[in-house]
Amino acid sequence: MKQPSFHIIKPLLLSGERSASRWFSFVGLGIGVLLLLLAQQLFIDIQALVKQTSIRKNGFDYISVTKQITNDNMGRDNRFSSTDLDTLRQQPFIQGAAPLISNRFEVVATAGDQIPFASDIFLEALETDFIDTVPPNFNWQPDQPIVPLIFSSDFLEMYNVFAPSYGLPQLSMETASNVIIGLRCEGQKGAQVFRGQIVAFSDRINSLLVPKSFMDWANETLEGLPSANASRVYLKTLDANSPDLLNFLAQKNYRVNKEKTAFGRSKQILQGVIAGLGIFGVLVVALALLLFSFYLQLMVARSRDNLQLLLILGYRPDWLSRQVARRFVPVYFVVVAVALGVTQLLQYLFHQVIMFNRPELSSWLDPSIWITAGVLIGLSIATNWRMVRKLLYGIS
């Protein structure tokens, strides 16, 4: 069946065409979409920027506590006993506590022939759940010659600061991971040499970590003693800044490593602000769509007699609503495309001018931004079409 031409009936629907509310709604929609896309892109940028320094894992904060060393308790055993650990674990604001177990045997590390470096070091072990970066090969079994190590990224930074003064080469994370470290372990019951390899770097834990299985085995085999009480304990908590937690720790005279917690909090606050911006964008989009629906209602109300007569003459409400809705599709495309263009421009400037030395960022929009833009166009068209359809069926 040949379809009627919309061209001939178009003038009948133009009453109220120049309505200011239509233009307000388009501008509002543009601003809302821009805010939404910007918030999403900024959120992604922040994720990329702080990805390597996050202290949060699975929604928890991880902090390390030690006993405060004062003149009064100096010389006493300031390690955490199993009773201390149980008390910590019983607190409602602490979701887990894991001791940082130390070696009881001596360890000398050498870096091979290429880097003439040897030093007494200490090793520690921690439950893997409390470590931020745990590669799958971070485990050890007896007879395994290579011991995987997780190295503090702060230690590497310190090493790179003093290395040139000692004639040692500075190392990148990649190079350090390729260096085979000789580990000579010697205790009361014997000595053994292992080869150590850095498999990951930790931002959270300032230590040289080995798998717990290695630590337990070496303490027992080389020193003949079980792993000793720890002087440092890691706590898993929902909020490291919770007043209850801080009061409890102060009361117990425990010292907290707050620096990284503060960083984690800043990131959270920043993400909160961005999320707020995104929610604001969603609200503006919703308001703009609402305003546009008012405009459509006004248009239909003003053209009511003409629309009613068209329906009486045999024009299908289904066809009419599609024709009316279709007229605004190019406008939606333009509005969202402009917002997308501005977001792209701002992201480009942000990366090229402000964050020019951050290779983890991209000058181009994340693909998810394009998807969001597409969804917004689809949403606008669908809302629009449903509204017109409802209004037309209402008057037919």
């Binding site: 040949k2 001939i8 009486i312 003459l313 024009y315 299908r316 409400p317």
Partner: protein, 214 residues
């Protein structure tokens, strides 16, 4: 076939319909029939036309088009029926006021393309309104609007043509021309015509007369 099955306006007292030849009667309208419905003012003539055209529903009883109950039809089904099978000349003409007569015709003609564009000129000339084709409808006289309303109704395919006082603003000569055009086109399409008027229209070659209030 159109079946008017014992309908009665719901706003009428039952006693007002007892002597009617249409209200509360079963009427089957066969193809090609020419029915005259004669009804004095206030007897529900326009209401009947609107019931049959589906723009008012305050009646009891049933109206069926090709066995389909009119009440069960949705807005799109009514649009299909009005586009393909059911034509009407309203008593109050109902033209688009701002557009010209030509545009008014095109709005109807382009729905089905039943007739070529040239028919508009041809029929307008026959009914004497060709000089007003490019005049906005609101500037035309009632007589001109009524003739335009008749032409618009004929610009579609139809099985049933409803006429509600179609000649009320026309002199006898113009009414005759309009009647001839209506009969010619309805015969060509094999359609039934239902003409409702205050009085019996003598020039209408009716096959049946129904008095709304006998």
């Amino acid at each position: 076939m159109l079946q008017i099955d014992r309908i009665q306006p719901s706003f009428f007292e039952a006693s007002a319909c007892t002597h009617s030849e249409l209200w509360l009667q079963r009427i089957d309208v066969e193809p090609g029939e020419r029915i005259q419905i004669q009804a004095p003012s206030g007897s529900g003539k326009t209401s009947l036309t609107h019931f049959l055209y589906g723009i008012r529903k305050e009646y009891v009883g049933n109206i069926r088009y090709d066995q389909v109950d009119a009440r069960s039809m949705d807005a799109d089904a009514w649009a299909d029926l009005r586009r393909e099978k059911l034509a009407i000349v309203f008593q109050d003409m109902r033209l688009f006021a701002e557009p010209t007569l030509r545009t008014n015709f095109e709005i109807k003609r382009q729905l089905t393309h039943q007739h070529p564009e040239t028919v508009i000129e041809q029929w307008s000339r026959r009914l004497g309104i060709d000089h007003r084709l490019d005049t906005p409808a609101k500037l035309c006289s009632y007589g001109e609007q009524q003739r335009a309303s008749i032409i618009r109704a004929l610009l579609q395919p139809f099985c049933w043509l409803l006429l509600d006082e179609p000649f009320s603003h026309l002199d006898d000569a113009n009414a005759k021309k309009a009647m001839d055009l209506i009969l010619e086109e309805s015969e060509r399409q094999g359609a039934a015509v239902l003409l409702a008027d205050l009085e019996i229209v003598p020039q209408y070659p009716r096959t049946r007369l129904l008095r709304l209030l006998a």
